[in-house]
Symmetry: none
Subunit: 201 residues, 4 copies
DNA sequence: GATGAATGAGACTTCATTCAT
DNA sequence: AATGAATGAAGTCTCATTCAT
């Protein structure tokens, strides 16, 4: 009965997401994880080879959810800027509304797991896939709206502020309302827009 | 001879910086640390109460070096933009040239150590101190050059891209030459500059 | 099968009793304890939160056995003296025949564990409980047979010699045969009996 | 200058007495001991081979002081009972007034140091020396006043209650005033006196 | 398939002792 | 003679993983 399987696996992943994000990978013992998932410790090892593999799988799940959220409702007929603002706003909303996911991802990227291997994969793999909605936006003929920079630099200018901001929001240093979200999103656009540039220097 | 004292302490801090940045706090046993510092395990505890305290001290050291590097050579008579570009460029160079320090800081901020307490302190404390050179730049009468946004939002737009970019550079995803550094720095400025804004939407 | 559970716990307690009594709490490493109990080190911690808790539990066990042994076969219809002699003799026999238990208890009472907290509890708690068979003997209408002294003083006169004697016996300084046991028991009675007292001074 | 030597040695012994009695042998690090004695750690090892030897030496010191205190003011021309009461009362007063010494001795006797080896020595050594004033009292022609029992048994009946009582007093379970001390001393005498014995059984 | 008792490697930390100054 | 920085053996405890039930 594969239903049971998937259910239990999902329960483990959910418990893991919560525990990892709250306590960190290293301070989330498998025993506690099992308890939270209402599952025997041994059962976890039936679904995941070991703790590392569990983390990897969880990452895939969370990343997928993130990608889905980002592209939600984007209208390809609109202007590049409009699409960009939509995407960025989606991203901010998702991260803001999913603190567990955000904290997990942050931790993942800043651990031996993701620091080299994973981010590389993130970008080098599927060059035309759905995984990176921004890549499509920045390439093609809409690229004239955007500065002539390596993709990584554009990413940095576009995403960097978002991650930084969410972290601060999560730490309670700033409150993210819709107005601010919009302003920051526009700031991100200004950073990459080719139309930008002041006269005085 | 107090020199011996400081020397050994420095050796431990150096070994810690290297090990922590490469393996992470949790995967850098005190024994290995001692070995790398050419010191007995017990000696570490003469200089630092425990592992946490060692991490804390190391943070202070690294942070101080970072702050020094950022303000190096800044000319207060120049325009806000010029000063900003100088500061940001300093920051990028330091992080790029000190991968250990960068990785350590990233890890520190994304751990129970710094996640709430430290960043809060970073910004709420010394309102007029040397600790945050950017805060001075954004306040005062030069604030007209900068968007009307909460400090946190400006920080996010200014620093977010840098951290993101350095991470990618460190992972080998992009090569940071001077030209690119300049371009990204300008992108950061565009993100926060009040002179920015295109006509078409 | 919960039997396995209790069996292993018992094995640990037995090994602990032996080791603690022979080497002292501080010189009985958990590793050696595990070995003697034919158990993995980690297993001990499944049954006892830590070493202190293990000592505490062991104390409860031993104390209970001691209390049981003391009241064994006492006939409440006999005279106060007869009952007292019976109790004291029981006590001497138990301690003499259970050197591990005796040494453990001695050590326990002379450690931060029992020195204040436990002995206080021993006497102040259950005023009418089974825990202290002597207290009943000394109170009530049989109290006329016993000197008018604080309970603690009576305890001292009654038990003090026993503990002292057993210690000497254990050290091989004296051999405890039945005749001697009887004589000492009577000496204890003389110490507390109100009928005692010589004419010449 | 041997004066300096003795002074420093005494300082160490004093600090040791205090620390050992308050924290126990095992929880009194040499470093803390050195600090309390206002002495370098290394210096301790100039006066005592190691920690064990220090404990042994301290025992000798304390025991000597105890023996001196016991025989203080005893009048050999008085009756056996009077002498006994004087000795016992001396003992009680000394222990009551020197809690550090008492706790140290208790701990010493209930440790691998004293449990077998030392007490044996205490009694088997000097059969006619000053070390055991009671032994003289119980032997000779005054022995007719005392029960015909092995010396150890007499010791037990005489000293056992005292140690027990002091312990309780130290734990705050009972307050030792002069009246009570006298009564207990007489109880001890009753326990060993040959004149004792009631008619009813 | 599911469980959780059992395990032992390994982490952190303490502390008696040494020895160069 | 005195010191105290340096050391590493040894102790307690945790936790990922296994395997018999």
């Amino acid at each position: 009965m594969p239903t049971v399987n998937k259910k239990k696996q999902k329960a483990i992943l959910n418990a893991a997401l919560e525990l990892f994000s709250e306590q960190g990978f290293h301070d989330a013992p498998m025993a506690q994880l099992a308890e939270q998932a209402h599952v025997g410790v041994g059962s976890i090892y039936r679904y995941f080879k070991d703790k590392n593999k569990l983390i990897e799988e969880l990452y895939k799940e969370v990343d997928e959810a993130l990608q889905m959220a980002i592209i939600n409702g984007v209208d390809p007929t609109l202007s590049t800027k409009q699409q960009f603002l939509h995407l960025i706003t989606n991203l901010i909303h998702f991260l803001k509304d999913h603190p567990h996911e955000f904290k997990f991802l942050e931790q993942y990227y800043h651990s031996p797991f993701g620091i080299d291997k994973k981010r590389e994969k993130l970008l080098l793999e599927n060059p035309s896939d759905s995984q990176t909605p921004f890549i499509k936006l920045f390439s093609g003929n809409s690229s004239k709206d955007v500065k002539t920079l390596p993709a990584q630099a554009l990413y940095a200018l576009a995403f960097g502020p978002v991650l930084f901001l969410i972290r601060d929001a999560m730490a309670g240093l700033i409150k993210l309302d819709e107005a601010l979200i919009t302003q920051v999103a526009e700031g991100c656009w200004d950073a990459i827009s080719s139309k930008t540039g002041d006269l005085v220097t």
